[in-house]
């Protein structure tokens, strides 16, 4: 990559206009800015490609301190690690950040690197290493990541089954603007993990009343209430359990599970009529949801308990129909996955343009395989495999596109070669002639400059004589030499005197006009300097153009051939990996669907028996009523 020097004009443009978030305030490295442009769009491959090249070039320059990236090298190294992390290249990301960590850098920079490294290790499940990375944090810590560090540290303790070490941090973070709700919830979980059930209940109760309007905080508040309600339900405290479950918002992400649990809490407390309420709501919701399906079976069960067997029979009948339809749908989905349509749906470009693409996938026509995979799609492990598959699909698209460009490159090189090859020999011949003349002129120019310089120190008027004057002097010399050294006759003497007078006149003119002539000479020479500079520039431009002509078609065969081979090999590797990764995804999906089908079939059996039983009971009740 070529780069132009960062000039004062550019600096002023940035300095006067560039304000705003993140790097824009001070960023003056163009290529780093370009990498950020891609990164901010989530195009981490492109961002890495640009920044990698920029950092590599910075490392190779002779005077790195003059490079525009120099002031941002630490940030660039960080960003490299960050982009690699986001592009799921943990191995390289770890190396990049460790390099910064071990360099001679400020406390804030090192501590930021330590945090990022710990974050990577936490994500990879390397908890001890993550803790070790955090232990390297000392001295000044950047304010914007202080809470992040503490929250991460406390979560590592939880993952290491050391909840007691996390208590203080979570307590402190409850007042944090970013982590308040999360810390409150996790503190409850920490108590739960430590076996302090009562404290866990009290803390989850607090987390479940967290005042907020932030959607993420509201969701975590719902989760706290759901966990608390479920805990109490399992502990047999049905009435209190239902109260906490009722706190969960009806339109939140945990509402289905909460409605289901609320029904069971009331059912277990033998408040059958109360159980009907949440289950009636839930039974009307998305039929593919596991909680909804369970509610479809639970609702008529509750009516049965209320001795309303007729209605129970109706609901069992509806459930039976719905389960049958869903089993058919699942069969279709499993078949569809086996036909490879699941993977086709995942890589559909229009779906991935939307950040909620996983949800939109569900509404796609002709993709029944995705109906039952929402939970699986949302699970972290599945996401890792899925993202790898999608990344591979992107790589494949890129490689195939590059492969087609090699033919165009070959054509281009060939056309240039055909154009230049016959032209260049003639041009070179003309150039050689021009070159020798130009070199001669350069020598002449140098000689004149030297003469001017000599005249400035040692005046030599005869050097500034005009051509006519020089001819006259030569003629006078020639005439004078004819007189020899003998006795001269009178006429000869007179002639000699005339010659000497003429010489005297010439010498007089040369001496009296010397300074004027020297000034004129100097002026002419200076004009010549400018002309010579122009000629030199044109000469240089010609040389460069001549070189560029050669460079435009010579020396490409080997790199194009090598790259073509590398791209071809990579396509084969990517296809092989996609096949394996795709197969893994299909197996996960099929396993999930088979499990859901098995559960539904079980429900269907139960519904069938319960339906018959309800009819019997309804009939018996009707008969009793008639007899009475």
């Amino acid at each position: 990559m070529n780069r132009a020097p960062f000039t004062a004009t550019g600096l002023l443009v940035w300095a006067s206009l560039a304000t705003g978030p993140c790097h824009s305030e001070e960023l003056k490295d163009l290529y780093f800015g370009e990498a950020l442009y891609y990164a901010h769009q989530g195009l981490y491959f492109e961002a890495l490609e640009r920044l990698d090249a920029e950092v590599l070039q910075h490392d190779e320059v002779d005077e790195p301190e003059r490079d525009t990236l120099y002031p941002y090298m630490d940030d660039a190294e960080f960003s490299l690690g960050d982009f690699e992390l986001r592009y799921r290249m943990h191995q390289r990301a770890g190396r990049a950040i460790t390099a910064v960590l071990e360099g001679a850098v400020d406390d804030e920079v090192r501590n930021d690197a330590a945090y990022r490294l710990a974050r990577i290790q936490f994500q990879k499940g390397q908890m001890e290493d993550a803790l070790l990375a955090l232990s390297r944090i000392e001295g000044k810590v950047p304010e914007q990541i202080r809470d992040d560090i503490e929250f991460l540290r406390a979560n590592i303790y939880l993952a290491l089954d050391r909840p007691a070490d996390a208590f203080d941090t979570f307590k402190r973070l409850q007042d944090s603007k970013s982590y308040g709700a999360f810390a409150a919830y996790n503190l409850g979980i920490a108590h739960l993990q430590a076996g302090e059930r009562q404290l866990a209940i009290e803390q989850l109760d607090r987390a479940g009343r967290f005042e907020t309007s932030d959607p993420a905080d509201l969701a975590i508040r719902d989760k706290a209430n759901l966990v608390l309600g479920t805990l109490l339900l399992e502990g047999g405290d049905y009435t209190t359990s239902a109260q906490f479950l009722d706190r969960v918002r009806l339109d939140g992400p945990f509402s289905n599970q909460a409605l289901l649990s609320a029904g069971w809490a009331n059912m277990s407390g033998e408040h059958y009529a109360r159980a009907v309420v949440p289950w009636s709501i839930l039974a009307q919701r998305e039929v593919t949801d596991a909680a909804t399906q369970e509610a479809m079976l639970a609702l008529p069960y509750a009516y049965g308990k209320l001795d309303i067997h007729g209605r129970a029979a109706v609901y069992y009948g509806q459930a039976l129909d719905a389960f049958g339809t869903e089993v058919e749908k699942l069969n279709g989905s499993i078949e569809s996955i086996r036909d490879g349509r699941f993977l086709d749906a995942l890589v559909r470009e229009e779906i991935r343009q939307n950040k909620d693409w996983v949800i939109r996938l569900r509404s796609l026509p002709q993709t029944p395989e995705t109906y039952y995979l929402m939970q699986l799609l949302a699970s972290n492990d599945f996401q890792t495999v899925l993202q790898n598959y999608l990344d591979l699909a992107d790589l494949h698209r890129k490689l195939v596109s590059w492969q087609s460009s090699f033919d165009a490159f070959d054509d281009m090189v060939e056309i240039r070669s055909e154009h230049y090859t016959p032209l260049l020999p003639e041009i070179d011949t003309e150039f050689r002639e021009l070159d020798s003349r130009f070199r001669l002129r350069i020598e002449q120019h140098k000689m004149l400059v030297k003469r001017r310089d000599d005249l400035l120190t040692t005046p030599r008027p005869e050097f500034l004589a005009t051509r006519e004057e020089q001819d006259l002097l030569n003629q006078l010399d020639a005439m004078e030499s004819r007189f020899g050294g003998g006795e001269l006759r009178t006429s000869e003497k007179m002639l000699l005197e005339r010659i000497q007078r003429l010489r005297g006149l010439l010498v007089w003119t040369l001496n009296t006009e010397y300074h004027e002539r020297l000034t004129e000479f100097d002026r002419n020479l200076r004009n010549l300097d400018a002309a010579m500079a122009t000629a030199q520039a044109e000469y240089d431009e010609f040389v460069r153009s001549r070189q560029a002509a050669t460079h435009s078609y010579v020396g490409y065969d080997t790199p194009i051939r090598q790259l073509r081979t590398e791209v071809q090999d990579s396509i084969v590797r990517v296809e092989s990996l996609m096949k394996r990764q795709g197969h893994e995804l299909e197996l996960f999906a099929i396993d999930e669907l088979v499990a859901r089908r098995s559960r539904l079939e079980n429900y269907r059996e139960k519904a069938r028996f319960a339906l018959a039983d309800s009819y019997d009971r309804a009939t018996q009740a009707q008969a009793r009523s008639v007899l009475q």
Binding site: F151, Y179, L226, F588
Partner: protein
């Protein structure tokens, strides 16, 4: 709240509470095979990045030799009063490029990204550049600005920065400078 932290909370929730409220919630699929496959995916990503870098260099040498190379970059000064919609660049009377901004691209510019708008070839010497930007003001009215500039192309690659700003900041909304 960063996405990562949501992941943390989800992870902790899954570890500790998954069994309580969502039995059989997710399958454990991170087997050794998966990890090994993940390593291979990371390797191929690294290799393809290297290829992309080499290919970029090759393309630049082949398509945009340094003595004729001209690159135009766009930076944006975020303004609440103005939303950039599109830009058009005319070099020596001919349309060199035009671009309509997507939401994501605009956001990336607002966050400090620098867009490579155009890479092409011009001979050495003086050239004319006309930049036109279109957008919308906060009150819904269309806003358009065109400015003319000149620049000299030498034998080295030329990089020009176009900085765009809204009309309310004072001064010219379009600035062009060497980079």
């Amino acid at each position: 709240m960063p996405t990562f932290m949501r992941f943390l909370v989800l992870a902790v929730f899954t570890i500790l509470v998954g069994a309580v409220c969502a039995p059989g919630f997710a399958q454990e699929i991170a087997s050794e095979d998966t990890r090994s496959l993940d390593g291979q995916v990371q390797e191929i990503k690294s290799d393809v990045l290297s290829i992309a870098s080499e290919l970029g260099n090759l393309e630049e040498r082949l398509l945009y030799p340094s003595n004729t190379q001209l690159a135009l970059f766009v930076a944006f000064h975020d303004s609440e009063d103005f939303r950039l919609d599109s830009i058009q660049v005319v070099i020596n009377g001919e349309v060199a490029t035009q671009h309509i901004y997507s939401f994501k691209e605009l956001e990336a510019l607002q966050k400090g990204g620098v867009q490579r708008l155009y890479t092409g070839n011009v001979p050495t010497g003086d050239h004319q550049l006309k930049v036109t930007m279109h957008g919308k003001l906060k009150n819904g009215k269309d806003f358009s600005e065109t400015d003319d500039f000149s620049f000299a192309k030498g034998i080295a690659p030329k990089a020009l920065g176009i900085t765009l700003a809204g009309p309310s900041l004072g001064g010219s909304p379009i600035l062009v400078g060497d980079w």
